[in-house]
Structure formats: C-alpha cells, structure tokens
C-alpha cells in the first residue's frame, strides 16, 4: 500500500497517532502519515477558505502549522470563518492569526499550531526555510510573486500555493518546482512520475494568444483584476463595483496587447469579482479548502497526481477545471 519516493518517512508513528489517524491511514498508508507528521506548513492570510484548509490538514495530522495574519478581527471575518466565535469579547483587539490559532489547537493536540507575526511582503528566505509548504491567500500580486520567487531560491524544496475565493469563484495556483511522486495506475500497479512546474511569474506572463480557446475565463479575469489592483496600489479585495469602468479599460489594454477577444472575459464575471471584494461564500470555501487540503497531502506524501498548475471553480456554472499554464509542449 505504501509507496516510496524521496526521503522523510523514517521513524515510527506513536501509539497515540496510530489510534487517532487509524481511519485515514487506511486511505493513504502509514508511510504517508509519517511524512505528514513531519511536515511544516505556513498559511498567510486567514479567511474562510484558508481556515477550511487549516482544519483539513490539522485533522490529517501535519507536524506543525504556522499562521500569519496580523489584521485585527472584525465583524466581517465572521461571514465565512467558523473558527472565530461570534463574540466580540473574545475576538476584540486580537489578530486573526491569534484567534484562529487558539481554535485550531483544539482540533488536534498532536499538531503544533502557532502564530508568526510580521508582514509577508517583508519576510526573508531564511524564514521560509522553516517550512515545507507555504500557502498564501488574499495577498497582492507583488507579494505572491515575491514569496514564490523566494521559495524557488531556497536550497530545499518549498511547495507554494496561492488560493483566493471571490464571491462564488475560486482560484488555486500550485508551484511544486520539481515534484516526483508515486502514481497509481488503473490496474493497481504504481509508477514513479516527475513533474516540473513553472513559477508564478511564468504562469501569468504567458501570451494569451498562445492559450487554447477553452481556457477558463477565470484565468484571464483574475489576471485583469490583480493587474488593476497593482496599478492602483489597492490591497486585494479593496475594489468595488464603482471600479468597473477602469477595470474594463484595463481588460481592453491587456486583451489588445495579447490578442485575445474581450468577450473571453465577460463583463458580468468582472463585475462579480469586483463586487465580491473580500466576501466569500461558505460552501465555496469548503470546496476550495477541501481540494487544497488534499493537494497539500498529496504533495507531502508524494502519492497521487497533483494539480498542475491552476484550479478554477465557479459555482455559477458549476464547473471546476484544471489548467496547465503555460501549456506544456506536446509530443505532436
């Protein structure tokens, strides 16, 4: 049942771990569980989506989870973040990371959950070395690129994920750099596979005219939005519907430059993303958090095909699609 692949699985599980994780060990094997218990995860930006993710990996039994978000909890955080008790006397005057950390600790006493204070856009590479997995949410394009770049510069492999939920839409970006894993064939045999990921910079600078026609519209829409925010110096989610004329002209510029028909990025979709701001829908958070949770488990355990390299979900059309951007060169 257990596959090999890479190091990091030595050492036995304790009796307590075996008892608690009994069920899931039946799904992914003892070897994967051992790797999980040695993995260190950093999550930056606490919201409904990342909190779903945190719940899933704390239950799964990662070694440690560090939370980074100095923003003070406000009433707005209650809408999708089920870890913040709706009681101002509890959350008042405390950071999101602090309040979430306290609740998450209860989920699984065997996982070390802690708070990392500071500004994500200023962290150094050595800080990142403490982690195997970095998940970023609600950060500006500039910060995402900065962190992704830093992850790639370290001597150890640090897997990078960016996840955002807007309205009932969601985007997950994955950069595992070089990832080798055990793939299960339909017949039950296993095979060693290796994937090479592009960086975030590479994944977003691809010329749109080279992308297949059926590429998810959300891919383009999210690029327009983050470039608009960047150009205006807005923090993510600070936009409102009143930005629509400016955003549509940003769309036109980008489409002209990259030879894409503007109709590939529907105005209605842009409006939804703008109006959403930071608002998330709880069911969409559960879906995205579930998917990201399993992705991180796969990446740590080196078992199962990971997403390469974007996942888009839109509850409006009910679709969830994986895109590989830039498209890998095909054999033919």
């Amino acid at each position: 049942m257990d596959g090999g692949g890479g190091g990091g699985a030595e050492g036995e599980l304790t009796a307590q771990e075996t008892a608690l994780y009994d069920r899931q060990i039946r799904v992914w094997g003892v070897d994967a569980q051992k790797r999980l218990s040695k993995a260190h995860v950093l999550v930056c930006g606490m919201n409904g989506t990342t909190i779903e993710f945190c719940k899933n990996i704390v239950l799964a039994g990662v070694g440690s989870l560090s939370l980074m978000d100095d923003h003070m909890v406000t009433e707005d955080d209650l809408n999708a973040n089920f870890l913040i008790p709706p009681d101002e006397s509890i959350y008042g005057g405390r950071s999101r990371a602090e309040v979430c950390c306290e609740s998450l600790k209860d989920f699984n006493p065997m996982v070390r959950v802690s708070v990392e204070k500071g500004d994500l856009s200023l962290v150094d590479g050595e800080f990142l070395d403490k982690f195997d997995i970095v998940v970023v949410s609600g950060a500006s394009l500039k910060t995402k690129l900065f962190i992704n770049d830093n992850c790639r510069k370290r001597s150890k492999r640090i897997a990078f994920y960016a996840i955002d939920c807007k309205d009932s839409c969601g985007e997950i970006f994955v950069d595992l750099q070089k990832h080798s894993y055990v793939q299960k064939k339909p017949g039950g045999e296993t095979e060693q596979q290796e994937l090479t990921y592009p960086s975030l910079q590479e994944a977003i600078s691809v010329h749109w005219s080279t992308l297949p026609k059926k590429t998810a519209k959300l891919y383009f829409a999210m690029r327009v939005l983050e470039n608009y925010e960047l150009s205006k110096g807005y923090n993510p989610g600070e936009t409102t519907l009143s930005d629509i004329p400016a955003v549509l002209s940003q769309r036109k510029d980008m489409c002209d430059k990259m030879s894409l028909s503007e109709s590939q990025i529907p105005t209605a979709l842009m409006e939804r993303l703008l109006a959403a701001g930071k608002k998330e829908h709880p069911p969409v958070c559960a879906i995205l958090g579930g998917i990201l949770g399993q992705e991180v488990i796969k990446s740590i355990s080196c078992k199962g095909d990971p997403i390469k390299n974007f996942f888009f979900f839109d509850a409006a059309d009910g679709k969830g699609v994986i895109e590989d951007i830039p498209p890998p060169p095909t054999a033919n």
Binding site: A19, L59, P86, N108, G289, G290, I297, I307
Partner: protein
C-alpha cells in the same frame, strides 16, 4: 436592486449575490440532516455559516443514534477528546450553535428507519423544506429516498469513499429519485479464487464472511424452517430434487446429528474440528489433488502466480491465535445452539485443557475429488437420479434426528454485526481469515483492519467530506430559492487523488405514458370516498388499466389469483386494510395509500402511481 443591498450582516456575501429574500428563506428553512458523522459535522458548520434555520420559524433537525469514538476525531471536526462516548448529534449541535448562536437546532438520537416513524411522523415530514443525507450506508439512503419520494421533499444526497466523493440532487418531479439508478454492484473476486486459490487478504476475508454466514446464520435458519414444519420442508425439498437441495439437507443433518451441541464442551469439540477441517484437512485434500508440481492441461505449472501453494496448519495450544479462534468459534456455536457460555470458558488455560480432550480423527485425502479451478467452468451440478435417492435417505435420517431433539428445540441464527466489539463476531471472522492467510502465506491483518475490509468500509477523510458538503450546499441555495429548472442543478462525481471534478445535470425521472396520460415516480393519484375494492378496480379500468393486485404496506388486500379474495370485492378498502394489516390508520390521517399492480390493454405490466384513498 434593493434586494441585493448589503445589510451589514454576517450574511452580506450571500445577500449581495442572492438577495435578502433568499437569505430570509434560508433563515426560515425547516431542514432535516440525517446523520452526524463526518458529513453531518461539515454540513452543520456550512449551514450555521450560511444562516440556515437561524430564525424562530426555521428549524434544523439532526439525528444520529451513534456515539463519538476516538477514531472519529480525525475527520468529524466538531468533536473533541472530551466528547468521546457522548451522542454525536447533541455534541455537533452544540458546536454548530457556537459558530452561529441564532441556529435553531434540535438534536435527536433516532436512527431514521421504519421503527422510528412515530418520531419522524407525517406532521414532521410535511413541515420539512429539504432533507440532507449525511449517511454511510446504502440501506439508510434507500429508506430516506423512499420517505422523501412519499412526502415529495427534495433530497440532497452525498457520499465519500476515501478521496472520492459524489453528490446527487433529488428534486421532486424534476429529477429521478436516488434509488432509480443504483451504482453497479461492487466487483467481487471469482468464487474459485475465494474458495481454493486466495492470493490476498481480501479473498481470505470474503471467504471468512461467507463461512461465518453459512455456519451461524444460514444453516441455523434452515434447521429452524425444517423443524417448524417438517412436512412442508420435505415436500419442498423433494419437489426441488436437485443438488442444492441435497447439499442443504446434508448441512441440516450434520448440524443436528454429529455436530449437535448439548453442552459447551460440545461446542469446543465442534470448533476444534472446524479448525482441523478448514486449515488442515481441506488444504491436504487440495494439495493431494493438485500437488506442488502439478501441471495444467497445457503443461504449465498449476501453482503459478497469482495462485499460491497452501500448507496445512497444525493446531498448537501455545499459539494464541489458534486458541482465540477456538474460543470465538465455540462461544458463537454455543450462542447459536442456545447454550450459555460458562465463565471458565473465557480463561485460556481452561479452554486449552478442554481442547486437548478433543479426539481428532486422522485425515486421508480422497482421490477423484473435483475442485473448481476456473471461474468459467462453473458447472452447477444439475439434478440426477442419484440426488433423488440421496435426498430420500437424508430425509429419513433427518426425521430420526428430529425425534431425539428436546421438544420445541430451535437454533438461534446469528446475524453478522461488525460494530459490537464484545460479540466475538469480528474475532471469528478475523480468526478465519488469518488462519487461512497463514495457510497460503498471505500477510495477516488485525481485527480493526479486518473489520474495515469485511465491512467494505473505506474511511471518510476531511478533505473530500468538506468538498462534498460544499457542493451540496451550493445546490441548497437553489432548492430553497425554489423555481429552478432541472438544468440549473448539478450532481457531482469527484476524485481528489487524480484529481478530477465532474459535474452534471441530474437525470429527469422516467415518464410513463399510457393512453394520453403521463406520470412519473413522483406522481400520486387520489380518490375521494370510502370506496370498495371493486370500485377501485372500476376506476382503474376506466383508464384502460386492468388491476390484478392491491396491497397496503406489506399486506395483500386483493389478488385475482386467490379465489377467496373475490369476497373482498364488495367490501370497503379501508375495512379490508384494517382487517388484513391489523392496524388502524391513525385518526389524524384522512387517507390510506395502496399500491396497485396493473396491466395495460396489451397485457403488459405497467407501473402506476401510488393511489391515495381519502376514505374519511
């Protein structure tokens, strides 16, 4: 639009997209969540965040008859260490209320099944807006499907298997019901593999389950049906007159003759001899018929992969697993024979003493024994002259046995129950499977793993469970908003390991057309008046339907096959129902529902809707 204006509430994300009218519908919804395990916990969290059932008018009922155990904590995230041993539904409800204190929730500990219909009664069902299944087994899902179909309530179904998850939306009149298209039955290993050539622990467990069922459930049941009415049983067997009937009789005879147990010591003897038979004699016979160097007709080695060459076990009182097998087997044999297990039998040393006294006859393999080696040549033996003679002989012996039994003797069949740790069922199954695994040099498993495999349990994990409930809750917005056409809804199949997420429109229900009329499984016909059976038949024949059978629940009210039912034609259906079913329709209910089997004018069977007769 004004409806979409944020109200500065925690639900603004929803309000700005769906509007405050829908938010009010969510708040006032009457929702039934069935099950409070992994799915149930995730649902409660989502519903609390969405503000479902968060007004005085709204109500969320959650029910589960299970209590929390340690291994639940890794995916049922509303539970903590200190909740172990408490009712799942109550703890989950309290935790959900902490997420949203406005949640109006009622936690019950009743399993949803026919026995609890006094709790989940008509009035309860009629008040519901939607049902969310959070179940872990098909039987309960089928039951909920039947109830939702009857009360015409939307059923949002979901399930997970490890990293896989599926969701199915069942919307009255728009989609087919859950039971309409069942999953294909699980793939099973060919019988010859299970019987003689296992090569993994699953095969051993399949065999163990089937032996358990044969020894402790099926045979005792057959014994009882023979003893309850020997004449009828004999007549039926003679009429069948085939090899299967013969084998069945042979089982009953064995059970009542040489295997008959009067005292607990007899059960130990039985268990010890079973050990010898299963793990030594049978293996000796198999390897006598097919020696290690045997070749197939094409000259290839017979024992080549995946076949594994078995070796017999020699019973050893110092081998704990051998002794535990005897303990579990003798205790269960005692239970099925109505014998109390004496306290001394639970001590290993006493048991070993008793085992040493059992006489083990020497085994000599027989020539000419046929063993099925290929799944294709499954030549089910057909009836032969021989069978008739053997059956005759067996029946004489059986009648003699029956005379020697204490008056009124019946066996107590045991139904396999994997979840009771004190009943020895899993001990016997794991023992059977592991001893067999040892025969074939297959890795043995512990009791817990045996339970998961035998119960075909693939555990729930947090990630796929969270996703499944998220997908269902997106559909819940549509259900509660109302008025959505079928192509707005999405059912899902996903596998996070691959990863894959496929969403599709639910299938519409099958439409039955007859003489310009059309109906589906969701339709009901109702007839006003306290009518007679004949009047019902007439009402149907006016529609070109010829009814030949009328039933009420499990009771048959009328069937053209039975001449004595003719007397019922002129009687009121309600009276016949009262007499035959021996239950009164509750005072508050104005109607009774009958199922009528019909043929159309060409003599083809045609499914018609349930008929409600408003007799009051």
């Amino acid at each position: 639009p004004k409806d979409l204006k944020p109200l500065n509430s925690r639900y603004d994300a929803q309000i700005s997209v769906f509007g405050s009218k829908l938010q009010k519908k969510l708040r006032d919804a009457n929702v039934f969540v069935v099950g409070s395990g992994a799915l149930g916990c995730e649902f409660l969290k989502n519903l609390a965040l969405m503000g479902v059932s968060c007004s005085r008018k709204g109500k969320l009922t959650i029910t589960d008859d299970d209590v929390i155990e340690k291994s639940n904590l890794s995916c049922q995230f509303l539970f903590r260490d200190w909740n172990i041993g408490h009712a799942k539904s109550t703890v989950a409800a309290t935790a959900a209320s902490a997420i949203n204190s406005c949640l109006h929730i009622d936690a019950l500990q009743n399993r949803a099944c026919p026995e609890t219909e006094h709790v989940f009664h008509d009035a309860f069902w009629e008040g519901l807006d939607v049902v969310l299944n959070a179940l872990d087994n098909v039987d309960a899902r089928m039951y909920m499907d039947m109830r939702c179909l009857y009360f015409q309530k939307p059923l949002l179904e979901s399930g997970t298997l490890g990293t896989k998850c599926n969701t199915q939306m069942v919307i009255p009149h728009l989609t087919e019901n859950y039971g309409a298209s069942r999953d294909p039955p699980e793939k099973q290993a060919p019988m010859c593999t299970v019987h003689s050539f296992p090569h993994n622990i699953d095969h051993c467990l399949t065999w163990a389950c089937s032996e358990f069922e044969g020894l402790l459930d099926k045979t005792p049941n057959e014994v009882n049906s023979f003893l309850s009415n020997p004449t009828q049983y004999v007549a039926a067997t003679k009429k069948a007159g085939d090899a299967q009937a013969r084998e069945l009789l042979e089982r009953i005879r064995e059970c009542l003759e040489e295997e008959y147990c009067e005292r607990f010591e007899d059960c130990i003897t039985w268990a010890r001899l079973k050990f010898e038979d299963y793990f030594s004699n049978r293996v000796k016979q198999l390897t006598f018929t097919f020696p290690e160097d045997a070749a197939t007709s094409s000259g290839a080695p017979f024992w080549s992969a995946p076949k594994r060459f078995p070796r017999p076990l020699e019973f050893s009182a110092t081998d704990v697993s051998h002794v535990q097998f005897i303990m579990a087997a003798s205790i269960l044999r005692a239970v099925s024979s109505g014998i109390d297990t004496p306290d001394w039998a639970k001590s290993t040393s006493n048991l070993i003493d008793a085992i040493s006294k059992v006489y083990i006859p020497e085994f000599k393999p027989k020539s000419g024994v046929k063993i099925q080696t290929n799944e294709k040549d499954n030549n089910i033996p057909s009836a032969s002259v021989d069978d008739a003679a053997v059956i005759e002989d067996l029946l004489t012996k059986l009648e003699a046995c029956a005379k020697k039994l204490p008056p009124g003797f019946r066996m107590k069949p045991i139904h396999f129950e994997k979840d009771d740790d004190t009943n020895f069922h899993m001990d016997l199954i794991a023992g059977l499977a592991n001893m067999r695994a040892r025969n074939y040099g297959i890795q043995e498993v512990d009791k817990l793993k045996a339970k998961l495999i035998a119960g075909r349990i693939i555990p729930a994990i947090a990630t796929s469970t969270a996703m499944a409930t998220g997908l269902v809750c997106i559909e819940l917005y549509k259900v509660l908003a109302g008025g959505h056409p079928v192509d707005d809804y999405r059912s899902t199949f996903a596998n996070l390991a691959i990863p894959m997420l496929t969403r599709s429109e639910p299938l519409p229900p099958t439409v039955i057309k007859h003489q310009g009329m059309r109906w589906t499984v969701w339709d009901r016909w109702s007839i006003k008046g306290d009518i007679t059976v004949a009047e019902l038949l007439k009402w149907l024949s006016d529609k070109g339907l010829s009814a030949y059978s009328v039933s009420y629940g499990t009771s048959l009210l009328y069937n053209t096959m039975f001449p004595r039912h003719k007397d019922r034609l002129g009687r009121k259906i309600a009276d016949v129902a009262r007499e035959v079913a021996k239950v009164d329709v509750p005072e508050y209910r104005k109607h009774l529902d009958v199922v009528v089997a019909c043929e159309d004018d060409k003599g083809n069977d045609i499914d018609i809707p349930l008929i409600s007769i408003y007799f009051r």
